[in-house]
Every structure is written in C-alpha cells, then in structure tokens.
C-alpha cells in the first residue's frame, strides 16, 4: 500500500517535473508545475504532514501558480524564440554539472542514512493544525513575526515595482 502510493505519486511528480523543463510554452510548464505540487502534497499527506499538504495545495497550487498564469496571460508570452548566442556554455558545462549534482545528492542521501527506517502511514501524526500552530506560536514566534514583516515588505515592493509612473 505504502509502496504503491509512493510509486504512483513519485512517478507523477517526476513526469510533471520533466514536462516543466521540456515544454516550450510557459502555460504548459505552469500547469505541469501544478501537477508536481499536487503529487508532492499527496506525499506530504503520507508523511504525516497534513497541514503542510493542505497549505501546499492552497498556497502553492492555488495562489502562487495562479499569479504565474496571470502574469503569463498578461504578458501574452508565447513559445520561446531560438537559442541565444551565449547559451552554448550552459549546454557544454551544464549537463555534466547537472549529472554530478544529481549523483552527489543521491550519494548524500543513501550514504548518510543507510539504515534509515521505512515510512509507514500513521507512524507520525504530529503534523496537524494544532501541533503546527502550537509550535508556531511558542518556539517559532519570532520567525513567524519576522515573516509577517517580510510579506509586508514584499507587498510594498511589488506595488512600487508594478505601478504606473504618475507624471
């Protein structure tokens, strides 16, 4: 059951992730990214992070991606035009660096945690709204408040950047 659940959504996430990179139209990439976020939310549910899973769907897939699609439609962004002249360095150095990065990450995850336990559903149920809220307003109160200031700054910055100049 766990294995089937993991395989299904991991496969879906990787498939949509490949689609994000390969699609030539930004809208297709954005919709694939929504697929990645949905599958990851299901995996979070399996890992006992219920609140984060719902926040992932509402905030990421619901708010941030809608913002992206909104901007794509606003700018009327079409398919990519041909490759720029500078991108051969990225192609020459990027592919080996990419493979090296992937192998390093896999090595890190398998070597440092060789005998890690298996994930079973229901093992850890500390990710409900109550536990998250309790931790957020006791141990992590200062980061939480700082985050609100950060969002305020982001709102003001976005308005300043996007407004029309008034002469």
């Amino acid at each position: 059951m766990e294995l089937f659940f993991f395989s299904l959504f991991a496969f879906l996430a990787v498939l949509c992730g490949i689609n994000v990179v390969l699609q030539h139209h930004p809208i297709s990439s954005a919709l694939s990214l929504v697929g990645v976020m949905g599958s990851l939310a299901m995996l979070y549910l399996g890992l006992g992070a219920e609140f984060i899973a719902m926040a992932q769907i509402i905030v990421y897939a619901g708010a941030i991606m809608v913002l992206f699609i909104f901007v794509i439609m606003l700018l009327n962004a079409g398919t990519e035009t041909g490759r720029g002249k500078a991108s051969w360095t990225a192609h020459l150095l990027g592919a080996p660096a990419l493979i090296a990065l992937f192998v390093l990450l896999c090595l890190f995850s398998t070597r440092w945690f060789p005998n890690s336990e298996s994930v079973k559903f229901g093992d850890f149920t500390g990710g409900g709204a109550q536990q998250i809220g309790y931790a957020l307003f006791t141990d992590y109160l200062l980061p939480f408040e700082v985050t609100s200031v950060l969002i305020l700054i982001a709102i003001i910055g976005a308005i300043v950047l996007a407004r029309k100049e008034i002469d």
Partner: protein, 112 residues
Amino acid sequence: MEPSAVLKSLNGGVPITWYLTLSAILFALGVAGFLFRRNIITVFMCIELMLNAVNLSFISFAHQHRQVSGQLFTFFVMVVAAAEAAVGLAIILTVFKNRSTLNIDEIDTLKN
C-alpha cells in the same frame, strides 16, 4: 538482490532514502530548467520546482526525527516563496514593459 527480496526487506514501508532521491531528482530537474531554458518566466518556475524539492526533504526528515520543526521550515519556505513570486513577477512585468522581451539572453544590460 532480487526484486522480491527487496520488497520483503522493505517490510511494507518505503525507505526514507527513496523520498530523498525523489527530492534529488526534482532538484536536478529544476537546475536543468534553470540552466537550459531561455524564457524568464520558465526559469522562475524552475526555481519554484527546486524549492518544492527541498521542501520534500524537510518533510522526510521531520518524519524520520518525529519532530514538527521540519514542517515549520517548509511553512517558512512557502511564505518566502510567495513573497519571492510577488516581487519577482513584478520585476518581470517591469522588464517586459521596458524591454518588451522575455528572453534572458536579451536582458544583459549589466553584462560587461
């Protein structure tokens, strides 16, 4: 090891390293898109993909250590991603208004 032996050793669960490997795959895909794509909006979306990959690692570790702190880090990453998306898309809008292009190769005023 034979596939059936692997399945038996899993004992009905999924090792945490599989989650970390999935996270690595998604992160590498994000880096690939960041390097190879020329559209500034797609590049931005690949950054979001990398953030999501890291979030999966955080949640896996939170499950392994039976602590809620890792999930809170994911929460903060989400908030920062939302702020980043708002400001970044505003910057993209301004760039498009001034340069009328979305190709990152043509936005090279700061180069040289």
